[in-house]
Point group: C2
Chain length 338, copies 2
């Protein structure tokens, strides 16, 4: 029997300081009805990303998520009803579905996805985070064999792929992460050359030993003190890929910027470049094909961290912001039924 | 009769906080004697640059200037004696001659200069600062017609050229400077569209009015709060050309970096790039020819601020750091005699 109700998670109040699960509420309402040109979608997996928290702070590359509205989030779903000639029931699709179990969306806001390997790969290695690693590292950082690449939030969804891609380019790879267990995972399981636990050693000092020839490419997901520590170890003509600033997201009061900006950018002639993966939209198909090949060959290990149940999405995000995930965190809402 | 003595200015002690003229001493010694392969040079004009102060803080792109040694500085001179087949007496040459009236240098450290227009142009529009403006703006910032360019330290040697070059590209140009007199000079004499006195108005707020469409290219010589103020007004895919950080030079304790780094670099997909003009060495001849053409046509007004006498070089630098110069500051030491 088809469900007649659907559930969604609302951002009931703006976080004051650190995000709490009590900032969210689970609500039940009638099953959405797709209008003309719309699809009714069963949500399968919701992507949990540090950027979700930044969306609550104000306008970024998208509108702010305001209190009293459904929490936004990219998700993978299955079309149940299609009022569009371009989609059929059973299609696997991606969209900003938000945190819910069913959603009706205009077909124009929905992308069809082609399954390659496990379904979850569409949101990890073949998803936004895998492609973010791919374009940011290969097109902006562009490391050469023998260069040293440092990546922050190295055990996260993006960082874990960045490090493995950099290894495949022949670079020396140093990861920065928040626990000894993550550091051991990076070196022992993912093949990083070294890993630094920023909670137990100052990054700038540790890099003296772990990046003895200096840093040529820094792929940064974190900002703040870690950015500053690596900046001071950059080589002349080094590249800093600015992918995120997670150290500044879960707070009301983002701190000042790193010392050495812009002084060291001048004297070391650095190139510091920000990007959003959607800027590379026209190259997505090629990237996915290449990443799927790496995953199938095993030259990239796909790390996924799956939390069960829509109701646990708030805790999944709060936990991610405190650094508990290894690799790509997803919330499993339902399995496809066709 | 040829002089038998020469004078030089020594950095007698490292500045503690702001640079003072008492950190220098004027010394007289015997006329230097050029060895094999060396030249004896009469110093004509010494270039005074904010970077001179940064050299006292530690290693930059050159060795630190240590207390007890002759103050370093680029200069224009005339060869008096040549022990090198590549130079002849009367040649006009450029080198890091330091603050002195005569110097003996190996020919390998000296570049011959071809005079185009007034002699002083070789150190202003055709010198390091003019070429810094040229390469930084045109090759890194690369503004298009209709874009908005903001330049800090706009009344300085680099900034005054940057703004005029940007106007010639068809951009809207906003200068940031430290006095109403400078601002009036920028708009009334140099043709800037607007100018902001950072001592009387907050930069971020003033840009709302003076750069109503946001900022596409920011050519920054200053760093610190001005960098931060402009950063918040950058447009998506904007370019920040990092040329200097003069706000951080005349101090023992450089401050923290700008807020919004790296967060805004990500969300606005900015490209922030540092450079040193000597990286473009192989294109100097072309740049000088083009800049000489602009100066001859009058499409760039060459602003020079000439201080008389070697003994006044310390005050010339101290004054430059407090922002008293309009355009390129030089110390006139002697005239050519051939």
């Amino acid at each position: 029997m088809a469900a007649t109700e659907s559930r969604q998670i609302t951002l009931s109040e703006s976080p004051s300081g650190k995000l709490l699960t009590s900032n969210f509420s689970l609500e039940t309402g009638p099953m959405p009805v797709p209008g003309d040109g719309e699809l009714l979608i069963r949500v399968l997996y919701i992507s949990i990303d540090a950027a979700n928290r930044a969306w609550m702070q104000g306008r970024t590359y998208r509108d702010q998520v305001l209190p009293g509205t459904k929490m936004a989030g990219g998700a993978l779903g299955e079309v149940i009803v299609s009022n569009s000639p371009d989609f059929a029931p059973g299609d696997i699709v991606e969209a900003d579905m938000g945190w819910c179990d069913h959603v009706a969306l205009p077909a124009s806001q929905v992308q069809k996805r082609k399954q390659r390997g496990p379904l979850t790969h569409l949101q990890s290695i073949l998803g936004i985070t895998g492609k973010t690693a791919y374009f940011g590292l290969l097109q902006i950082g562009n490391p050469h064999a023998g260069e040293t690449v440092v990546v922050s939030a190295a055990a996260g969804a993006v960082g874990s792929v960045v490090g493995q891609l950099a290894k495949s380019r022949g670079a020396r790879v140093v990861g920065i992460a928040g626990s000894d267990k993550k550091c051991a995972w990076l070196t022992d399981d993912l093949g990083f050359d070294a890993a630094i636990n920023y909670n137990t050693e100052p990054v700038m000092k540790a890099l003296k030993c772990d990046a003895p020839d200096g840093v040529d490419v820094f792929f940064d997901n974190v900002g703040g003190d870690i950015f500053e520590g690596v900046l001071f170890r950059m080589n002349t003509h080094g590249r800093i890929v600015c992918c995120g600033a997670v150290s500044q997201y879960d707070t009301d009061t983002p701190t000042h910027g790193p010392r050495g900006v812009p002084g060291l950018i001048v004297t070391k002639r650095l190139k510091v470049e920000g990007f959003i993966v959607t800027d590379f939209h026209d190259q997505f198909a090629k990237a996915e094909a290449e990443l799927a090949g790496f995953a199938a060959q095993g030259s990239i290990k796909v790390a996924e961290d799956i939390v069960e149940g829509l109701e646990n999405a708030p805790q999944a995000l709060v936990g991610l912001l405190s650094g508990e995930n290894f690799g790509k965190r997803l919330v499993h809402v339902a399995d496809p039924q066709s």
